[in-house]
């Protein structure tokens, strides 16, 4: 009961109804997907060596992308949250570019970048375009932008006081960041990593343009969905989509459970 003596039930009911509409939409989408495919289609998809390779490449490339994204997002997020420097607004704007650009344009931009003199110089030693590094780079460009946003909010929410106290006790700025602020940001780091991982799994547009769709080479699960749809195999495409949802759910649940164990957050 509220202090005024009136029930809070209508309030929570209203919140639940509004929020429930969105949750209901997501559940309805999943049900529609599941109704249009069958365990047989998922099993047939998994029986294909090409699709099994796509599952492995998806798991590996998304994990690499997630770790790289966190390594980039932590310093950038900290700088944007805690410091003021010339050009900060421009950097903030630049970080929105991968999020707002149409995915195909991200892919095309990467393709063009690796046709410039520095890009070609890199490719003389490491083949990038239409190869596995292109898969990871295309995923990373977009996923890291989301991770940076998460880390910035994380550092903004952590009080700078504890870091300041550590410095008064003799810690350098770097040591205080490393020993005090980073452990406090643990939950945000894990969220940034899992968000980058999930974003990378669903990435498709830049991948198709920059990495191509070569079976057993640059095919990840989103590419498989495209290849199956392109020959009218809607059931198999949905089967692979259901597989993606299952893989993502398993990885995210395991990561969050183990990552937040002992923090009282799970």
């Amino acid at each position: 009961m509220t202090p005024a003596g009136r029930s809070a039930v209508p309030f929570y009911l209203a919140l639940g109804l509004i929020g429930g509409m969105y949750v209901g939409l997501i559940v309805a989408l999943l049900i529609a997907d599941l109704a249009a495919t069958s365990p047989g289609h998922v099993a047939r998809a998994l029986a294909s060596p090409e699709i099994r390779a796509a599952v492995w490449l998806s798991l590996l490339s998304c994990s690499i992308t997630a770790i790289l994204s966190v390594w980039v997002a932590v310093p950038l997020g900290y700088l944007l949250a805690r410091t003021r420097f010339p050009g900060r607004g421009l950097i903030d704007l630049a970080l929105d570019v991968p999020i707002v650009l149409p995915p195909l344009v991200v892919g095309l931009s990467l393709l063009l970048l690796f046709q410039t003199a520095p890009g070609l110089a890199v490719q003389r030693y490491v083949p990038v375009t239409y190869a596995v590094p292109a898969v990871i780079l295309a995923q990373f460009v977009v996923a890291a932008a989301f991770a940076v946003r998460t880390m910035r909010v994380t550092f903004e929410q952590i009080s700078p006081r504890t870091e300041a106290v550590a410095m008064t006790l003799g810690c350098s700025r770097g040591r205080a960041f490393w020993l005090v602020t980073l452990p406090e940001a643990r939950r945000g780091i894990l969220t940034a990593g899992t968000m980058a991982w999930a974003r990378a799994l669903g990435e498709f547009g830049p991948l198709l343009v920059f990495a191509g769709a070569t079976r057993m080479k640059t095919e990840v699960l989103s590419t498989t969905v495209f290849l199956e749809l392109s020959v009218g195999n809607v059931e198999a495409a949905l089967g692979v989509s259901v597989l993606m949802i299952a893989v993502a759910a398993a990885v995210l649940v395991v990561t969050r459970t183990f990552g937040l164990r002992g923090t009282g957050l799970v």
Binding site: W71, P127, L208, L227, S230, V231, G232
Partner: protein, 266 residues
């Protein structure tokens, strides 16, 4: 070592392991460079069969890179050093013409022809049988947008024969020919105007070969690219692809109208 340092070192070690696993998963099993074929996603089924058979027929390993014809054209124009493509097989010869205009084509050979047909929904629930049925109130017809060959050619032909204005209120623009066919399959439209080999991949859906669409035809051509590192090997593959007992058998089985007899690359 602090816990933060341990986690950081662990993430770098994980990155190394993941990169090694990715390399192991995707490394080329054979030292010989494969023939690289850029092929339209709609030719995937016959081309996968051709690529599977070719090494057994004494040819080199073939690497298929799938995509939409426009994307493939872009890729053919932006090749990484040390990774040239050998053959370009878009869904329609118009893309070969564009590639030739850009100096990318050394020679091309027709593989198959296609004509536009009407593909109904599963079981043809609205009983479509003739052109006039498409113009009934409430009938929705998916047509690929003009960026796709079938979309452009169908619009041009129907406009020239005075039928487009009547059909236009019923038209739902789809991105590609397979998106149009998929819309008919899942029932979001009553029919789709698609190429006949595309329609053949949709069992259970009625195909109407209408005289009103008789003038909407396209030709699939295989082009040897000027950038090919081994033009002779590329030509030999095109010869196999266009041999009645070689590639054409697979194209015929997939519903394409093959072009026989085929000469060498012109």
């Amino acid at each position: 070592m602090s816990r933060t340092s341990l986690v950081a070192a662990g993430s770098l070690a994980a990155l190394g392991l993941l990169a090694a696993a990715t390399y192991q998963l995707t490394r080329d099993p054979s030292p010989d460079r494969p023939l690289v074929v850029y092929c339209a996603a709609s030719t995937r089924l016959p081309m996968e069969a051709v690529a599977r058979d070719y090494p057994a027929a004494g040819g080199r390993r073939v690497e298929l890179r799938f995509g939409a014809s426009e994307d493939l054209l872009t890729k053919a124009g932006t090749t990484a050093p040390g990774d040239p493509a050998d053959i370009f097989l878009p869904a329609d010869e118009s893309y070969v013409r564009l590639a030739r205009d850009r100096g990318l084509v050394a020679g091309s050979v027709p593989v198959a022809t296609m004509r536009a047909v009407v593909l109904t929904g599963r079981g043809n629930p609205t009983g479509l049988a003739a052109w006039a049925d498409l113009l009934r109130d409430g009938t929705r017809v998916a047509v690929a947008n003009p960026a796709a060959a079938v979309g452009k050619l169908a619009r041009d032909h129907l406009a020239a024969t005075g039928r487009w204005d009547a059909l236009r209120p019923h038209v739902i623009d789809a991105g590609t020919v397979t998106e149009a066919a998929n819309a008919a399959k899942i029932g979001s439209v009553d029919a789709a105007i698609v190429w006949d080999p595309v329609a053949a991949a949709y069992p259970g859906q009625t195909i109407l070969t209408l005289p009103e669409l008789a003038g909407v035809t396209a030709r699939v051509e295989a082009a040897v690219l000027t950038q090919s590192a081994d033009p002779d090997a590329a030509r030999r593959f095109v010869e196999y692809l266009t041999a009645p007992a070689g590639g054409l058998a697979h194209f015929r089985a997939a519903g394409f109208r093959v072009v026989e007899p085929a000469g060498g690359a012109k």
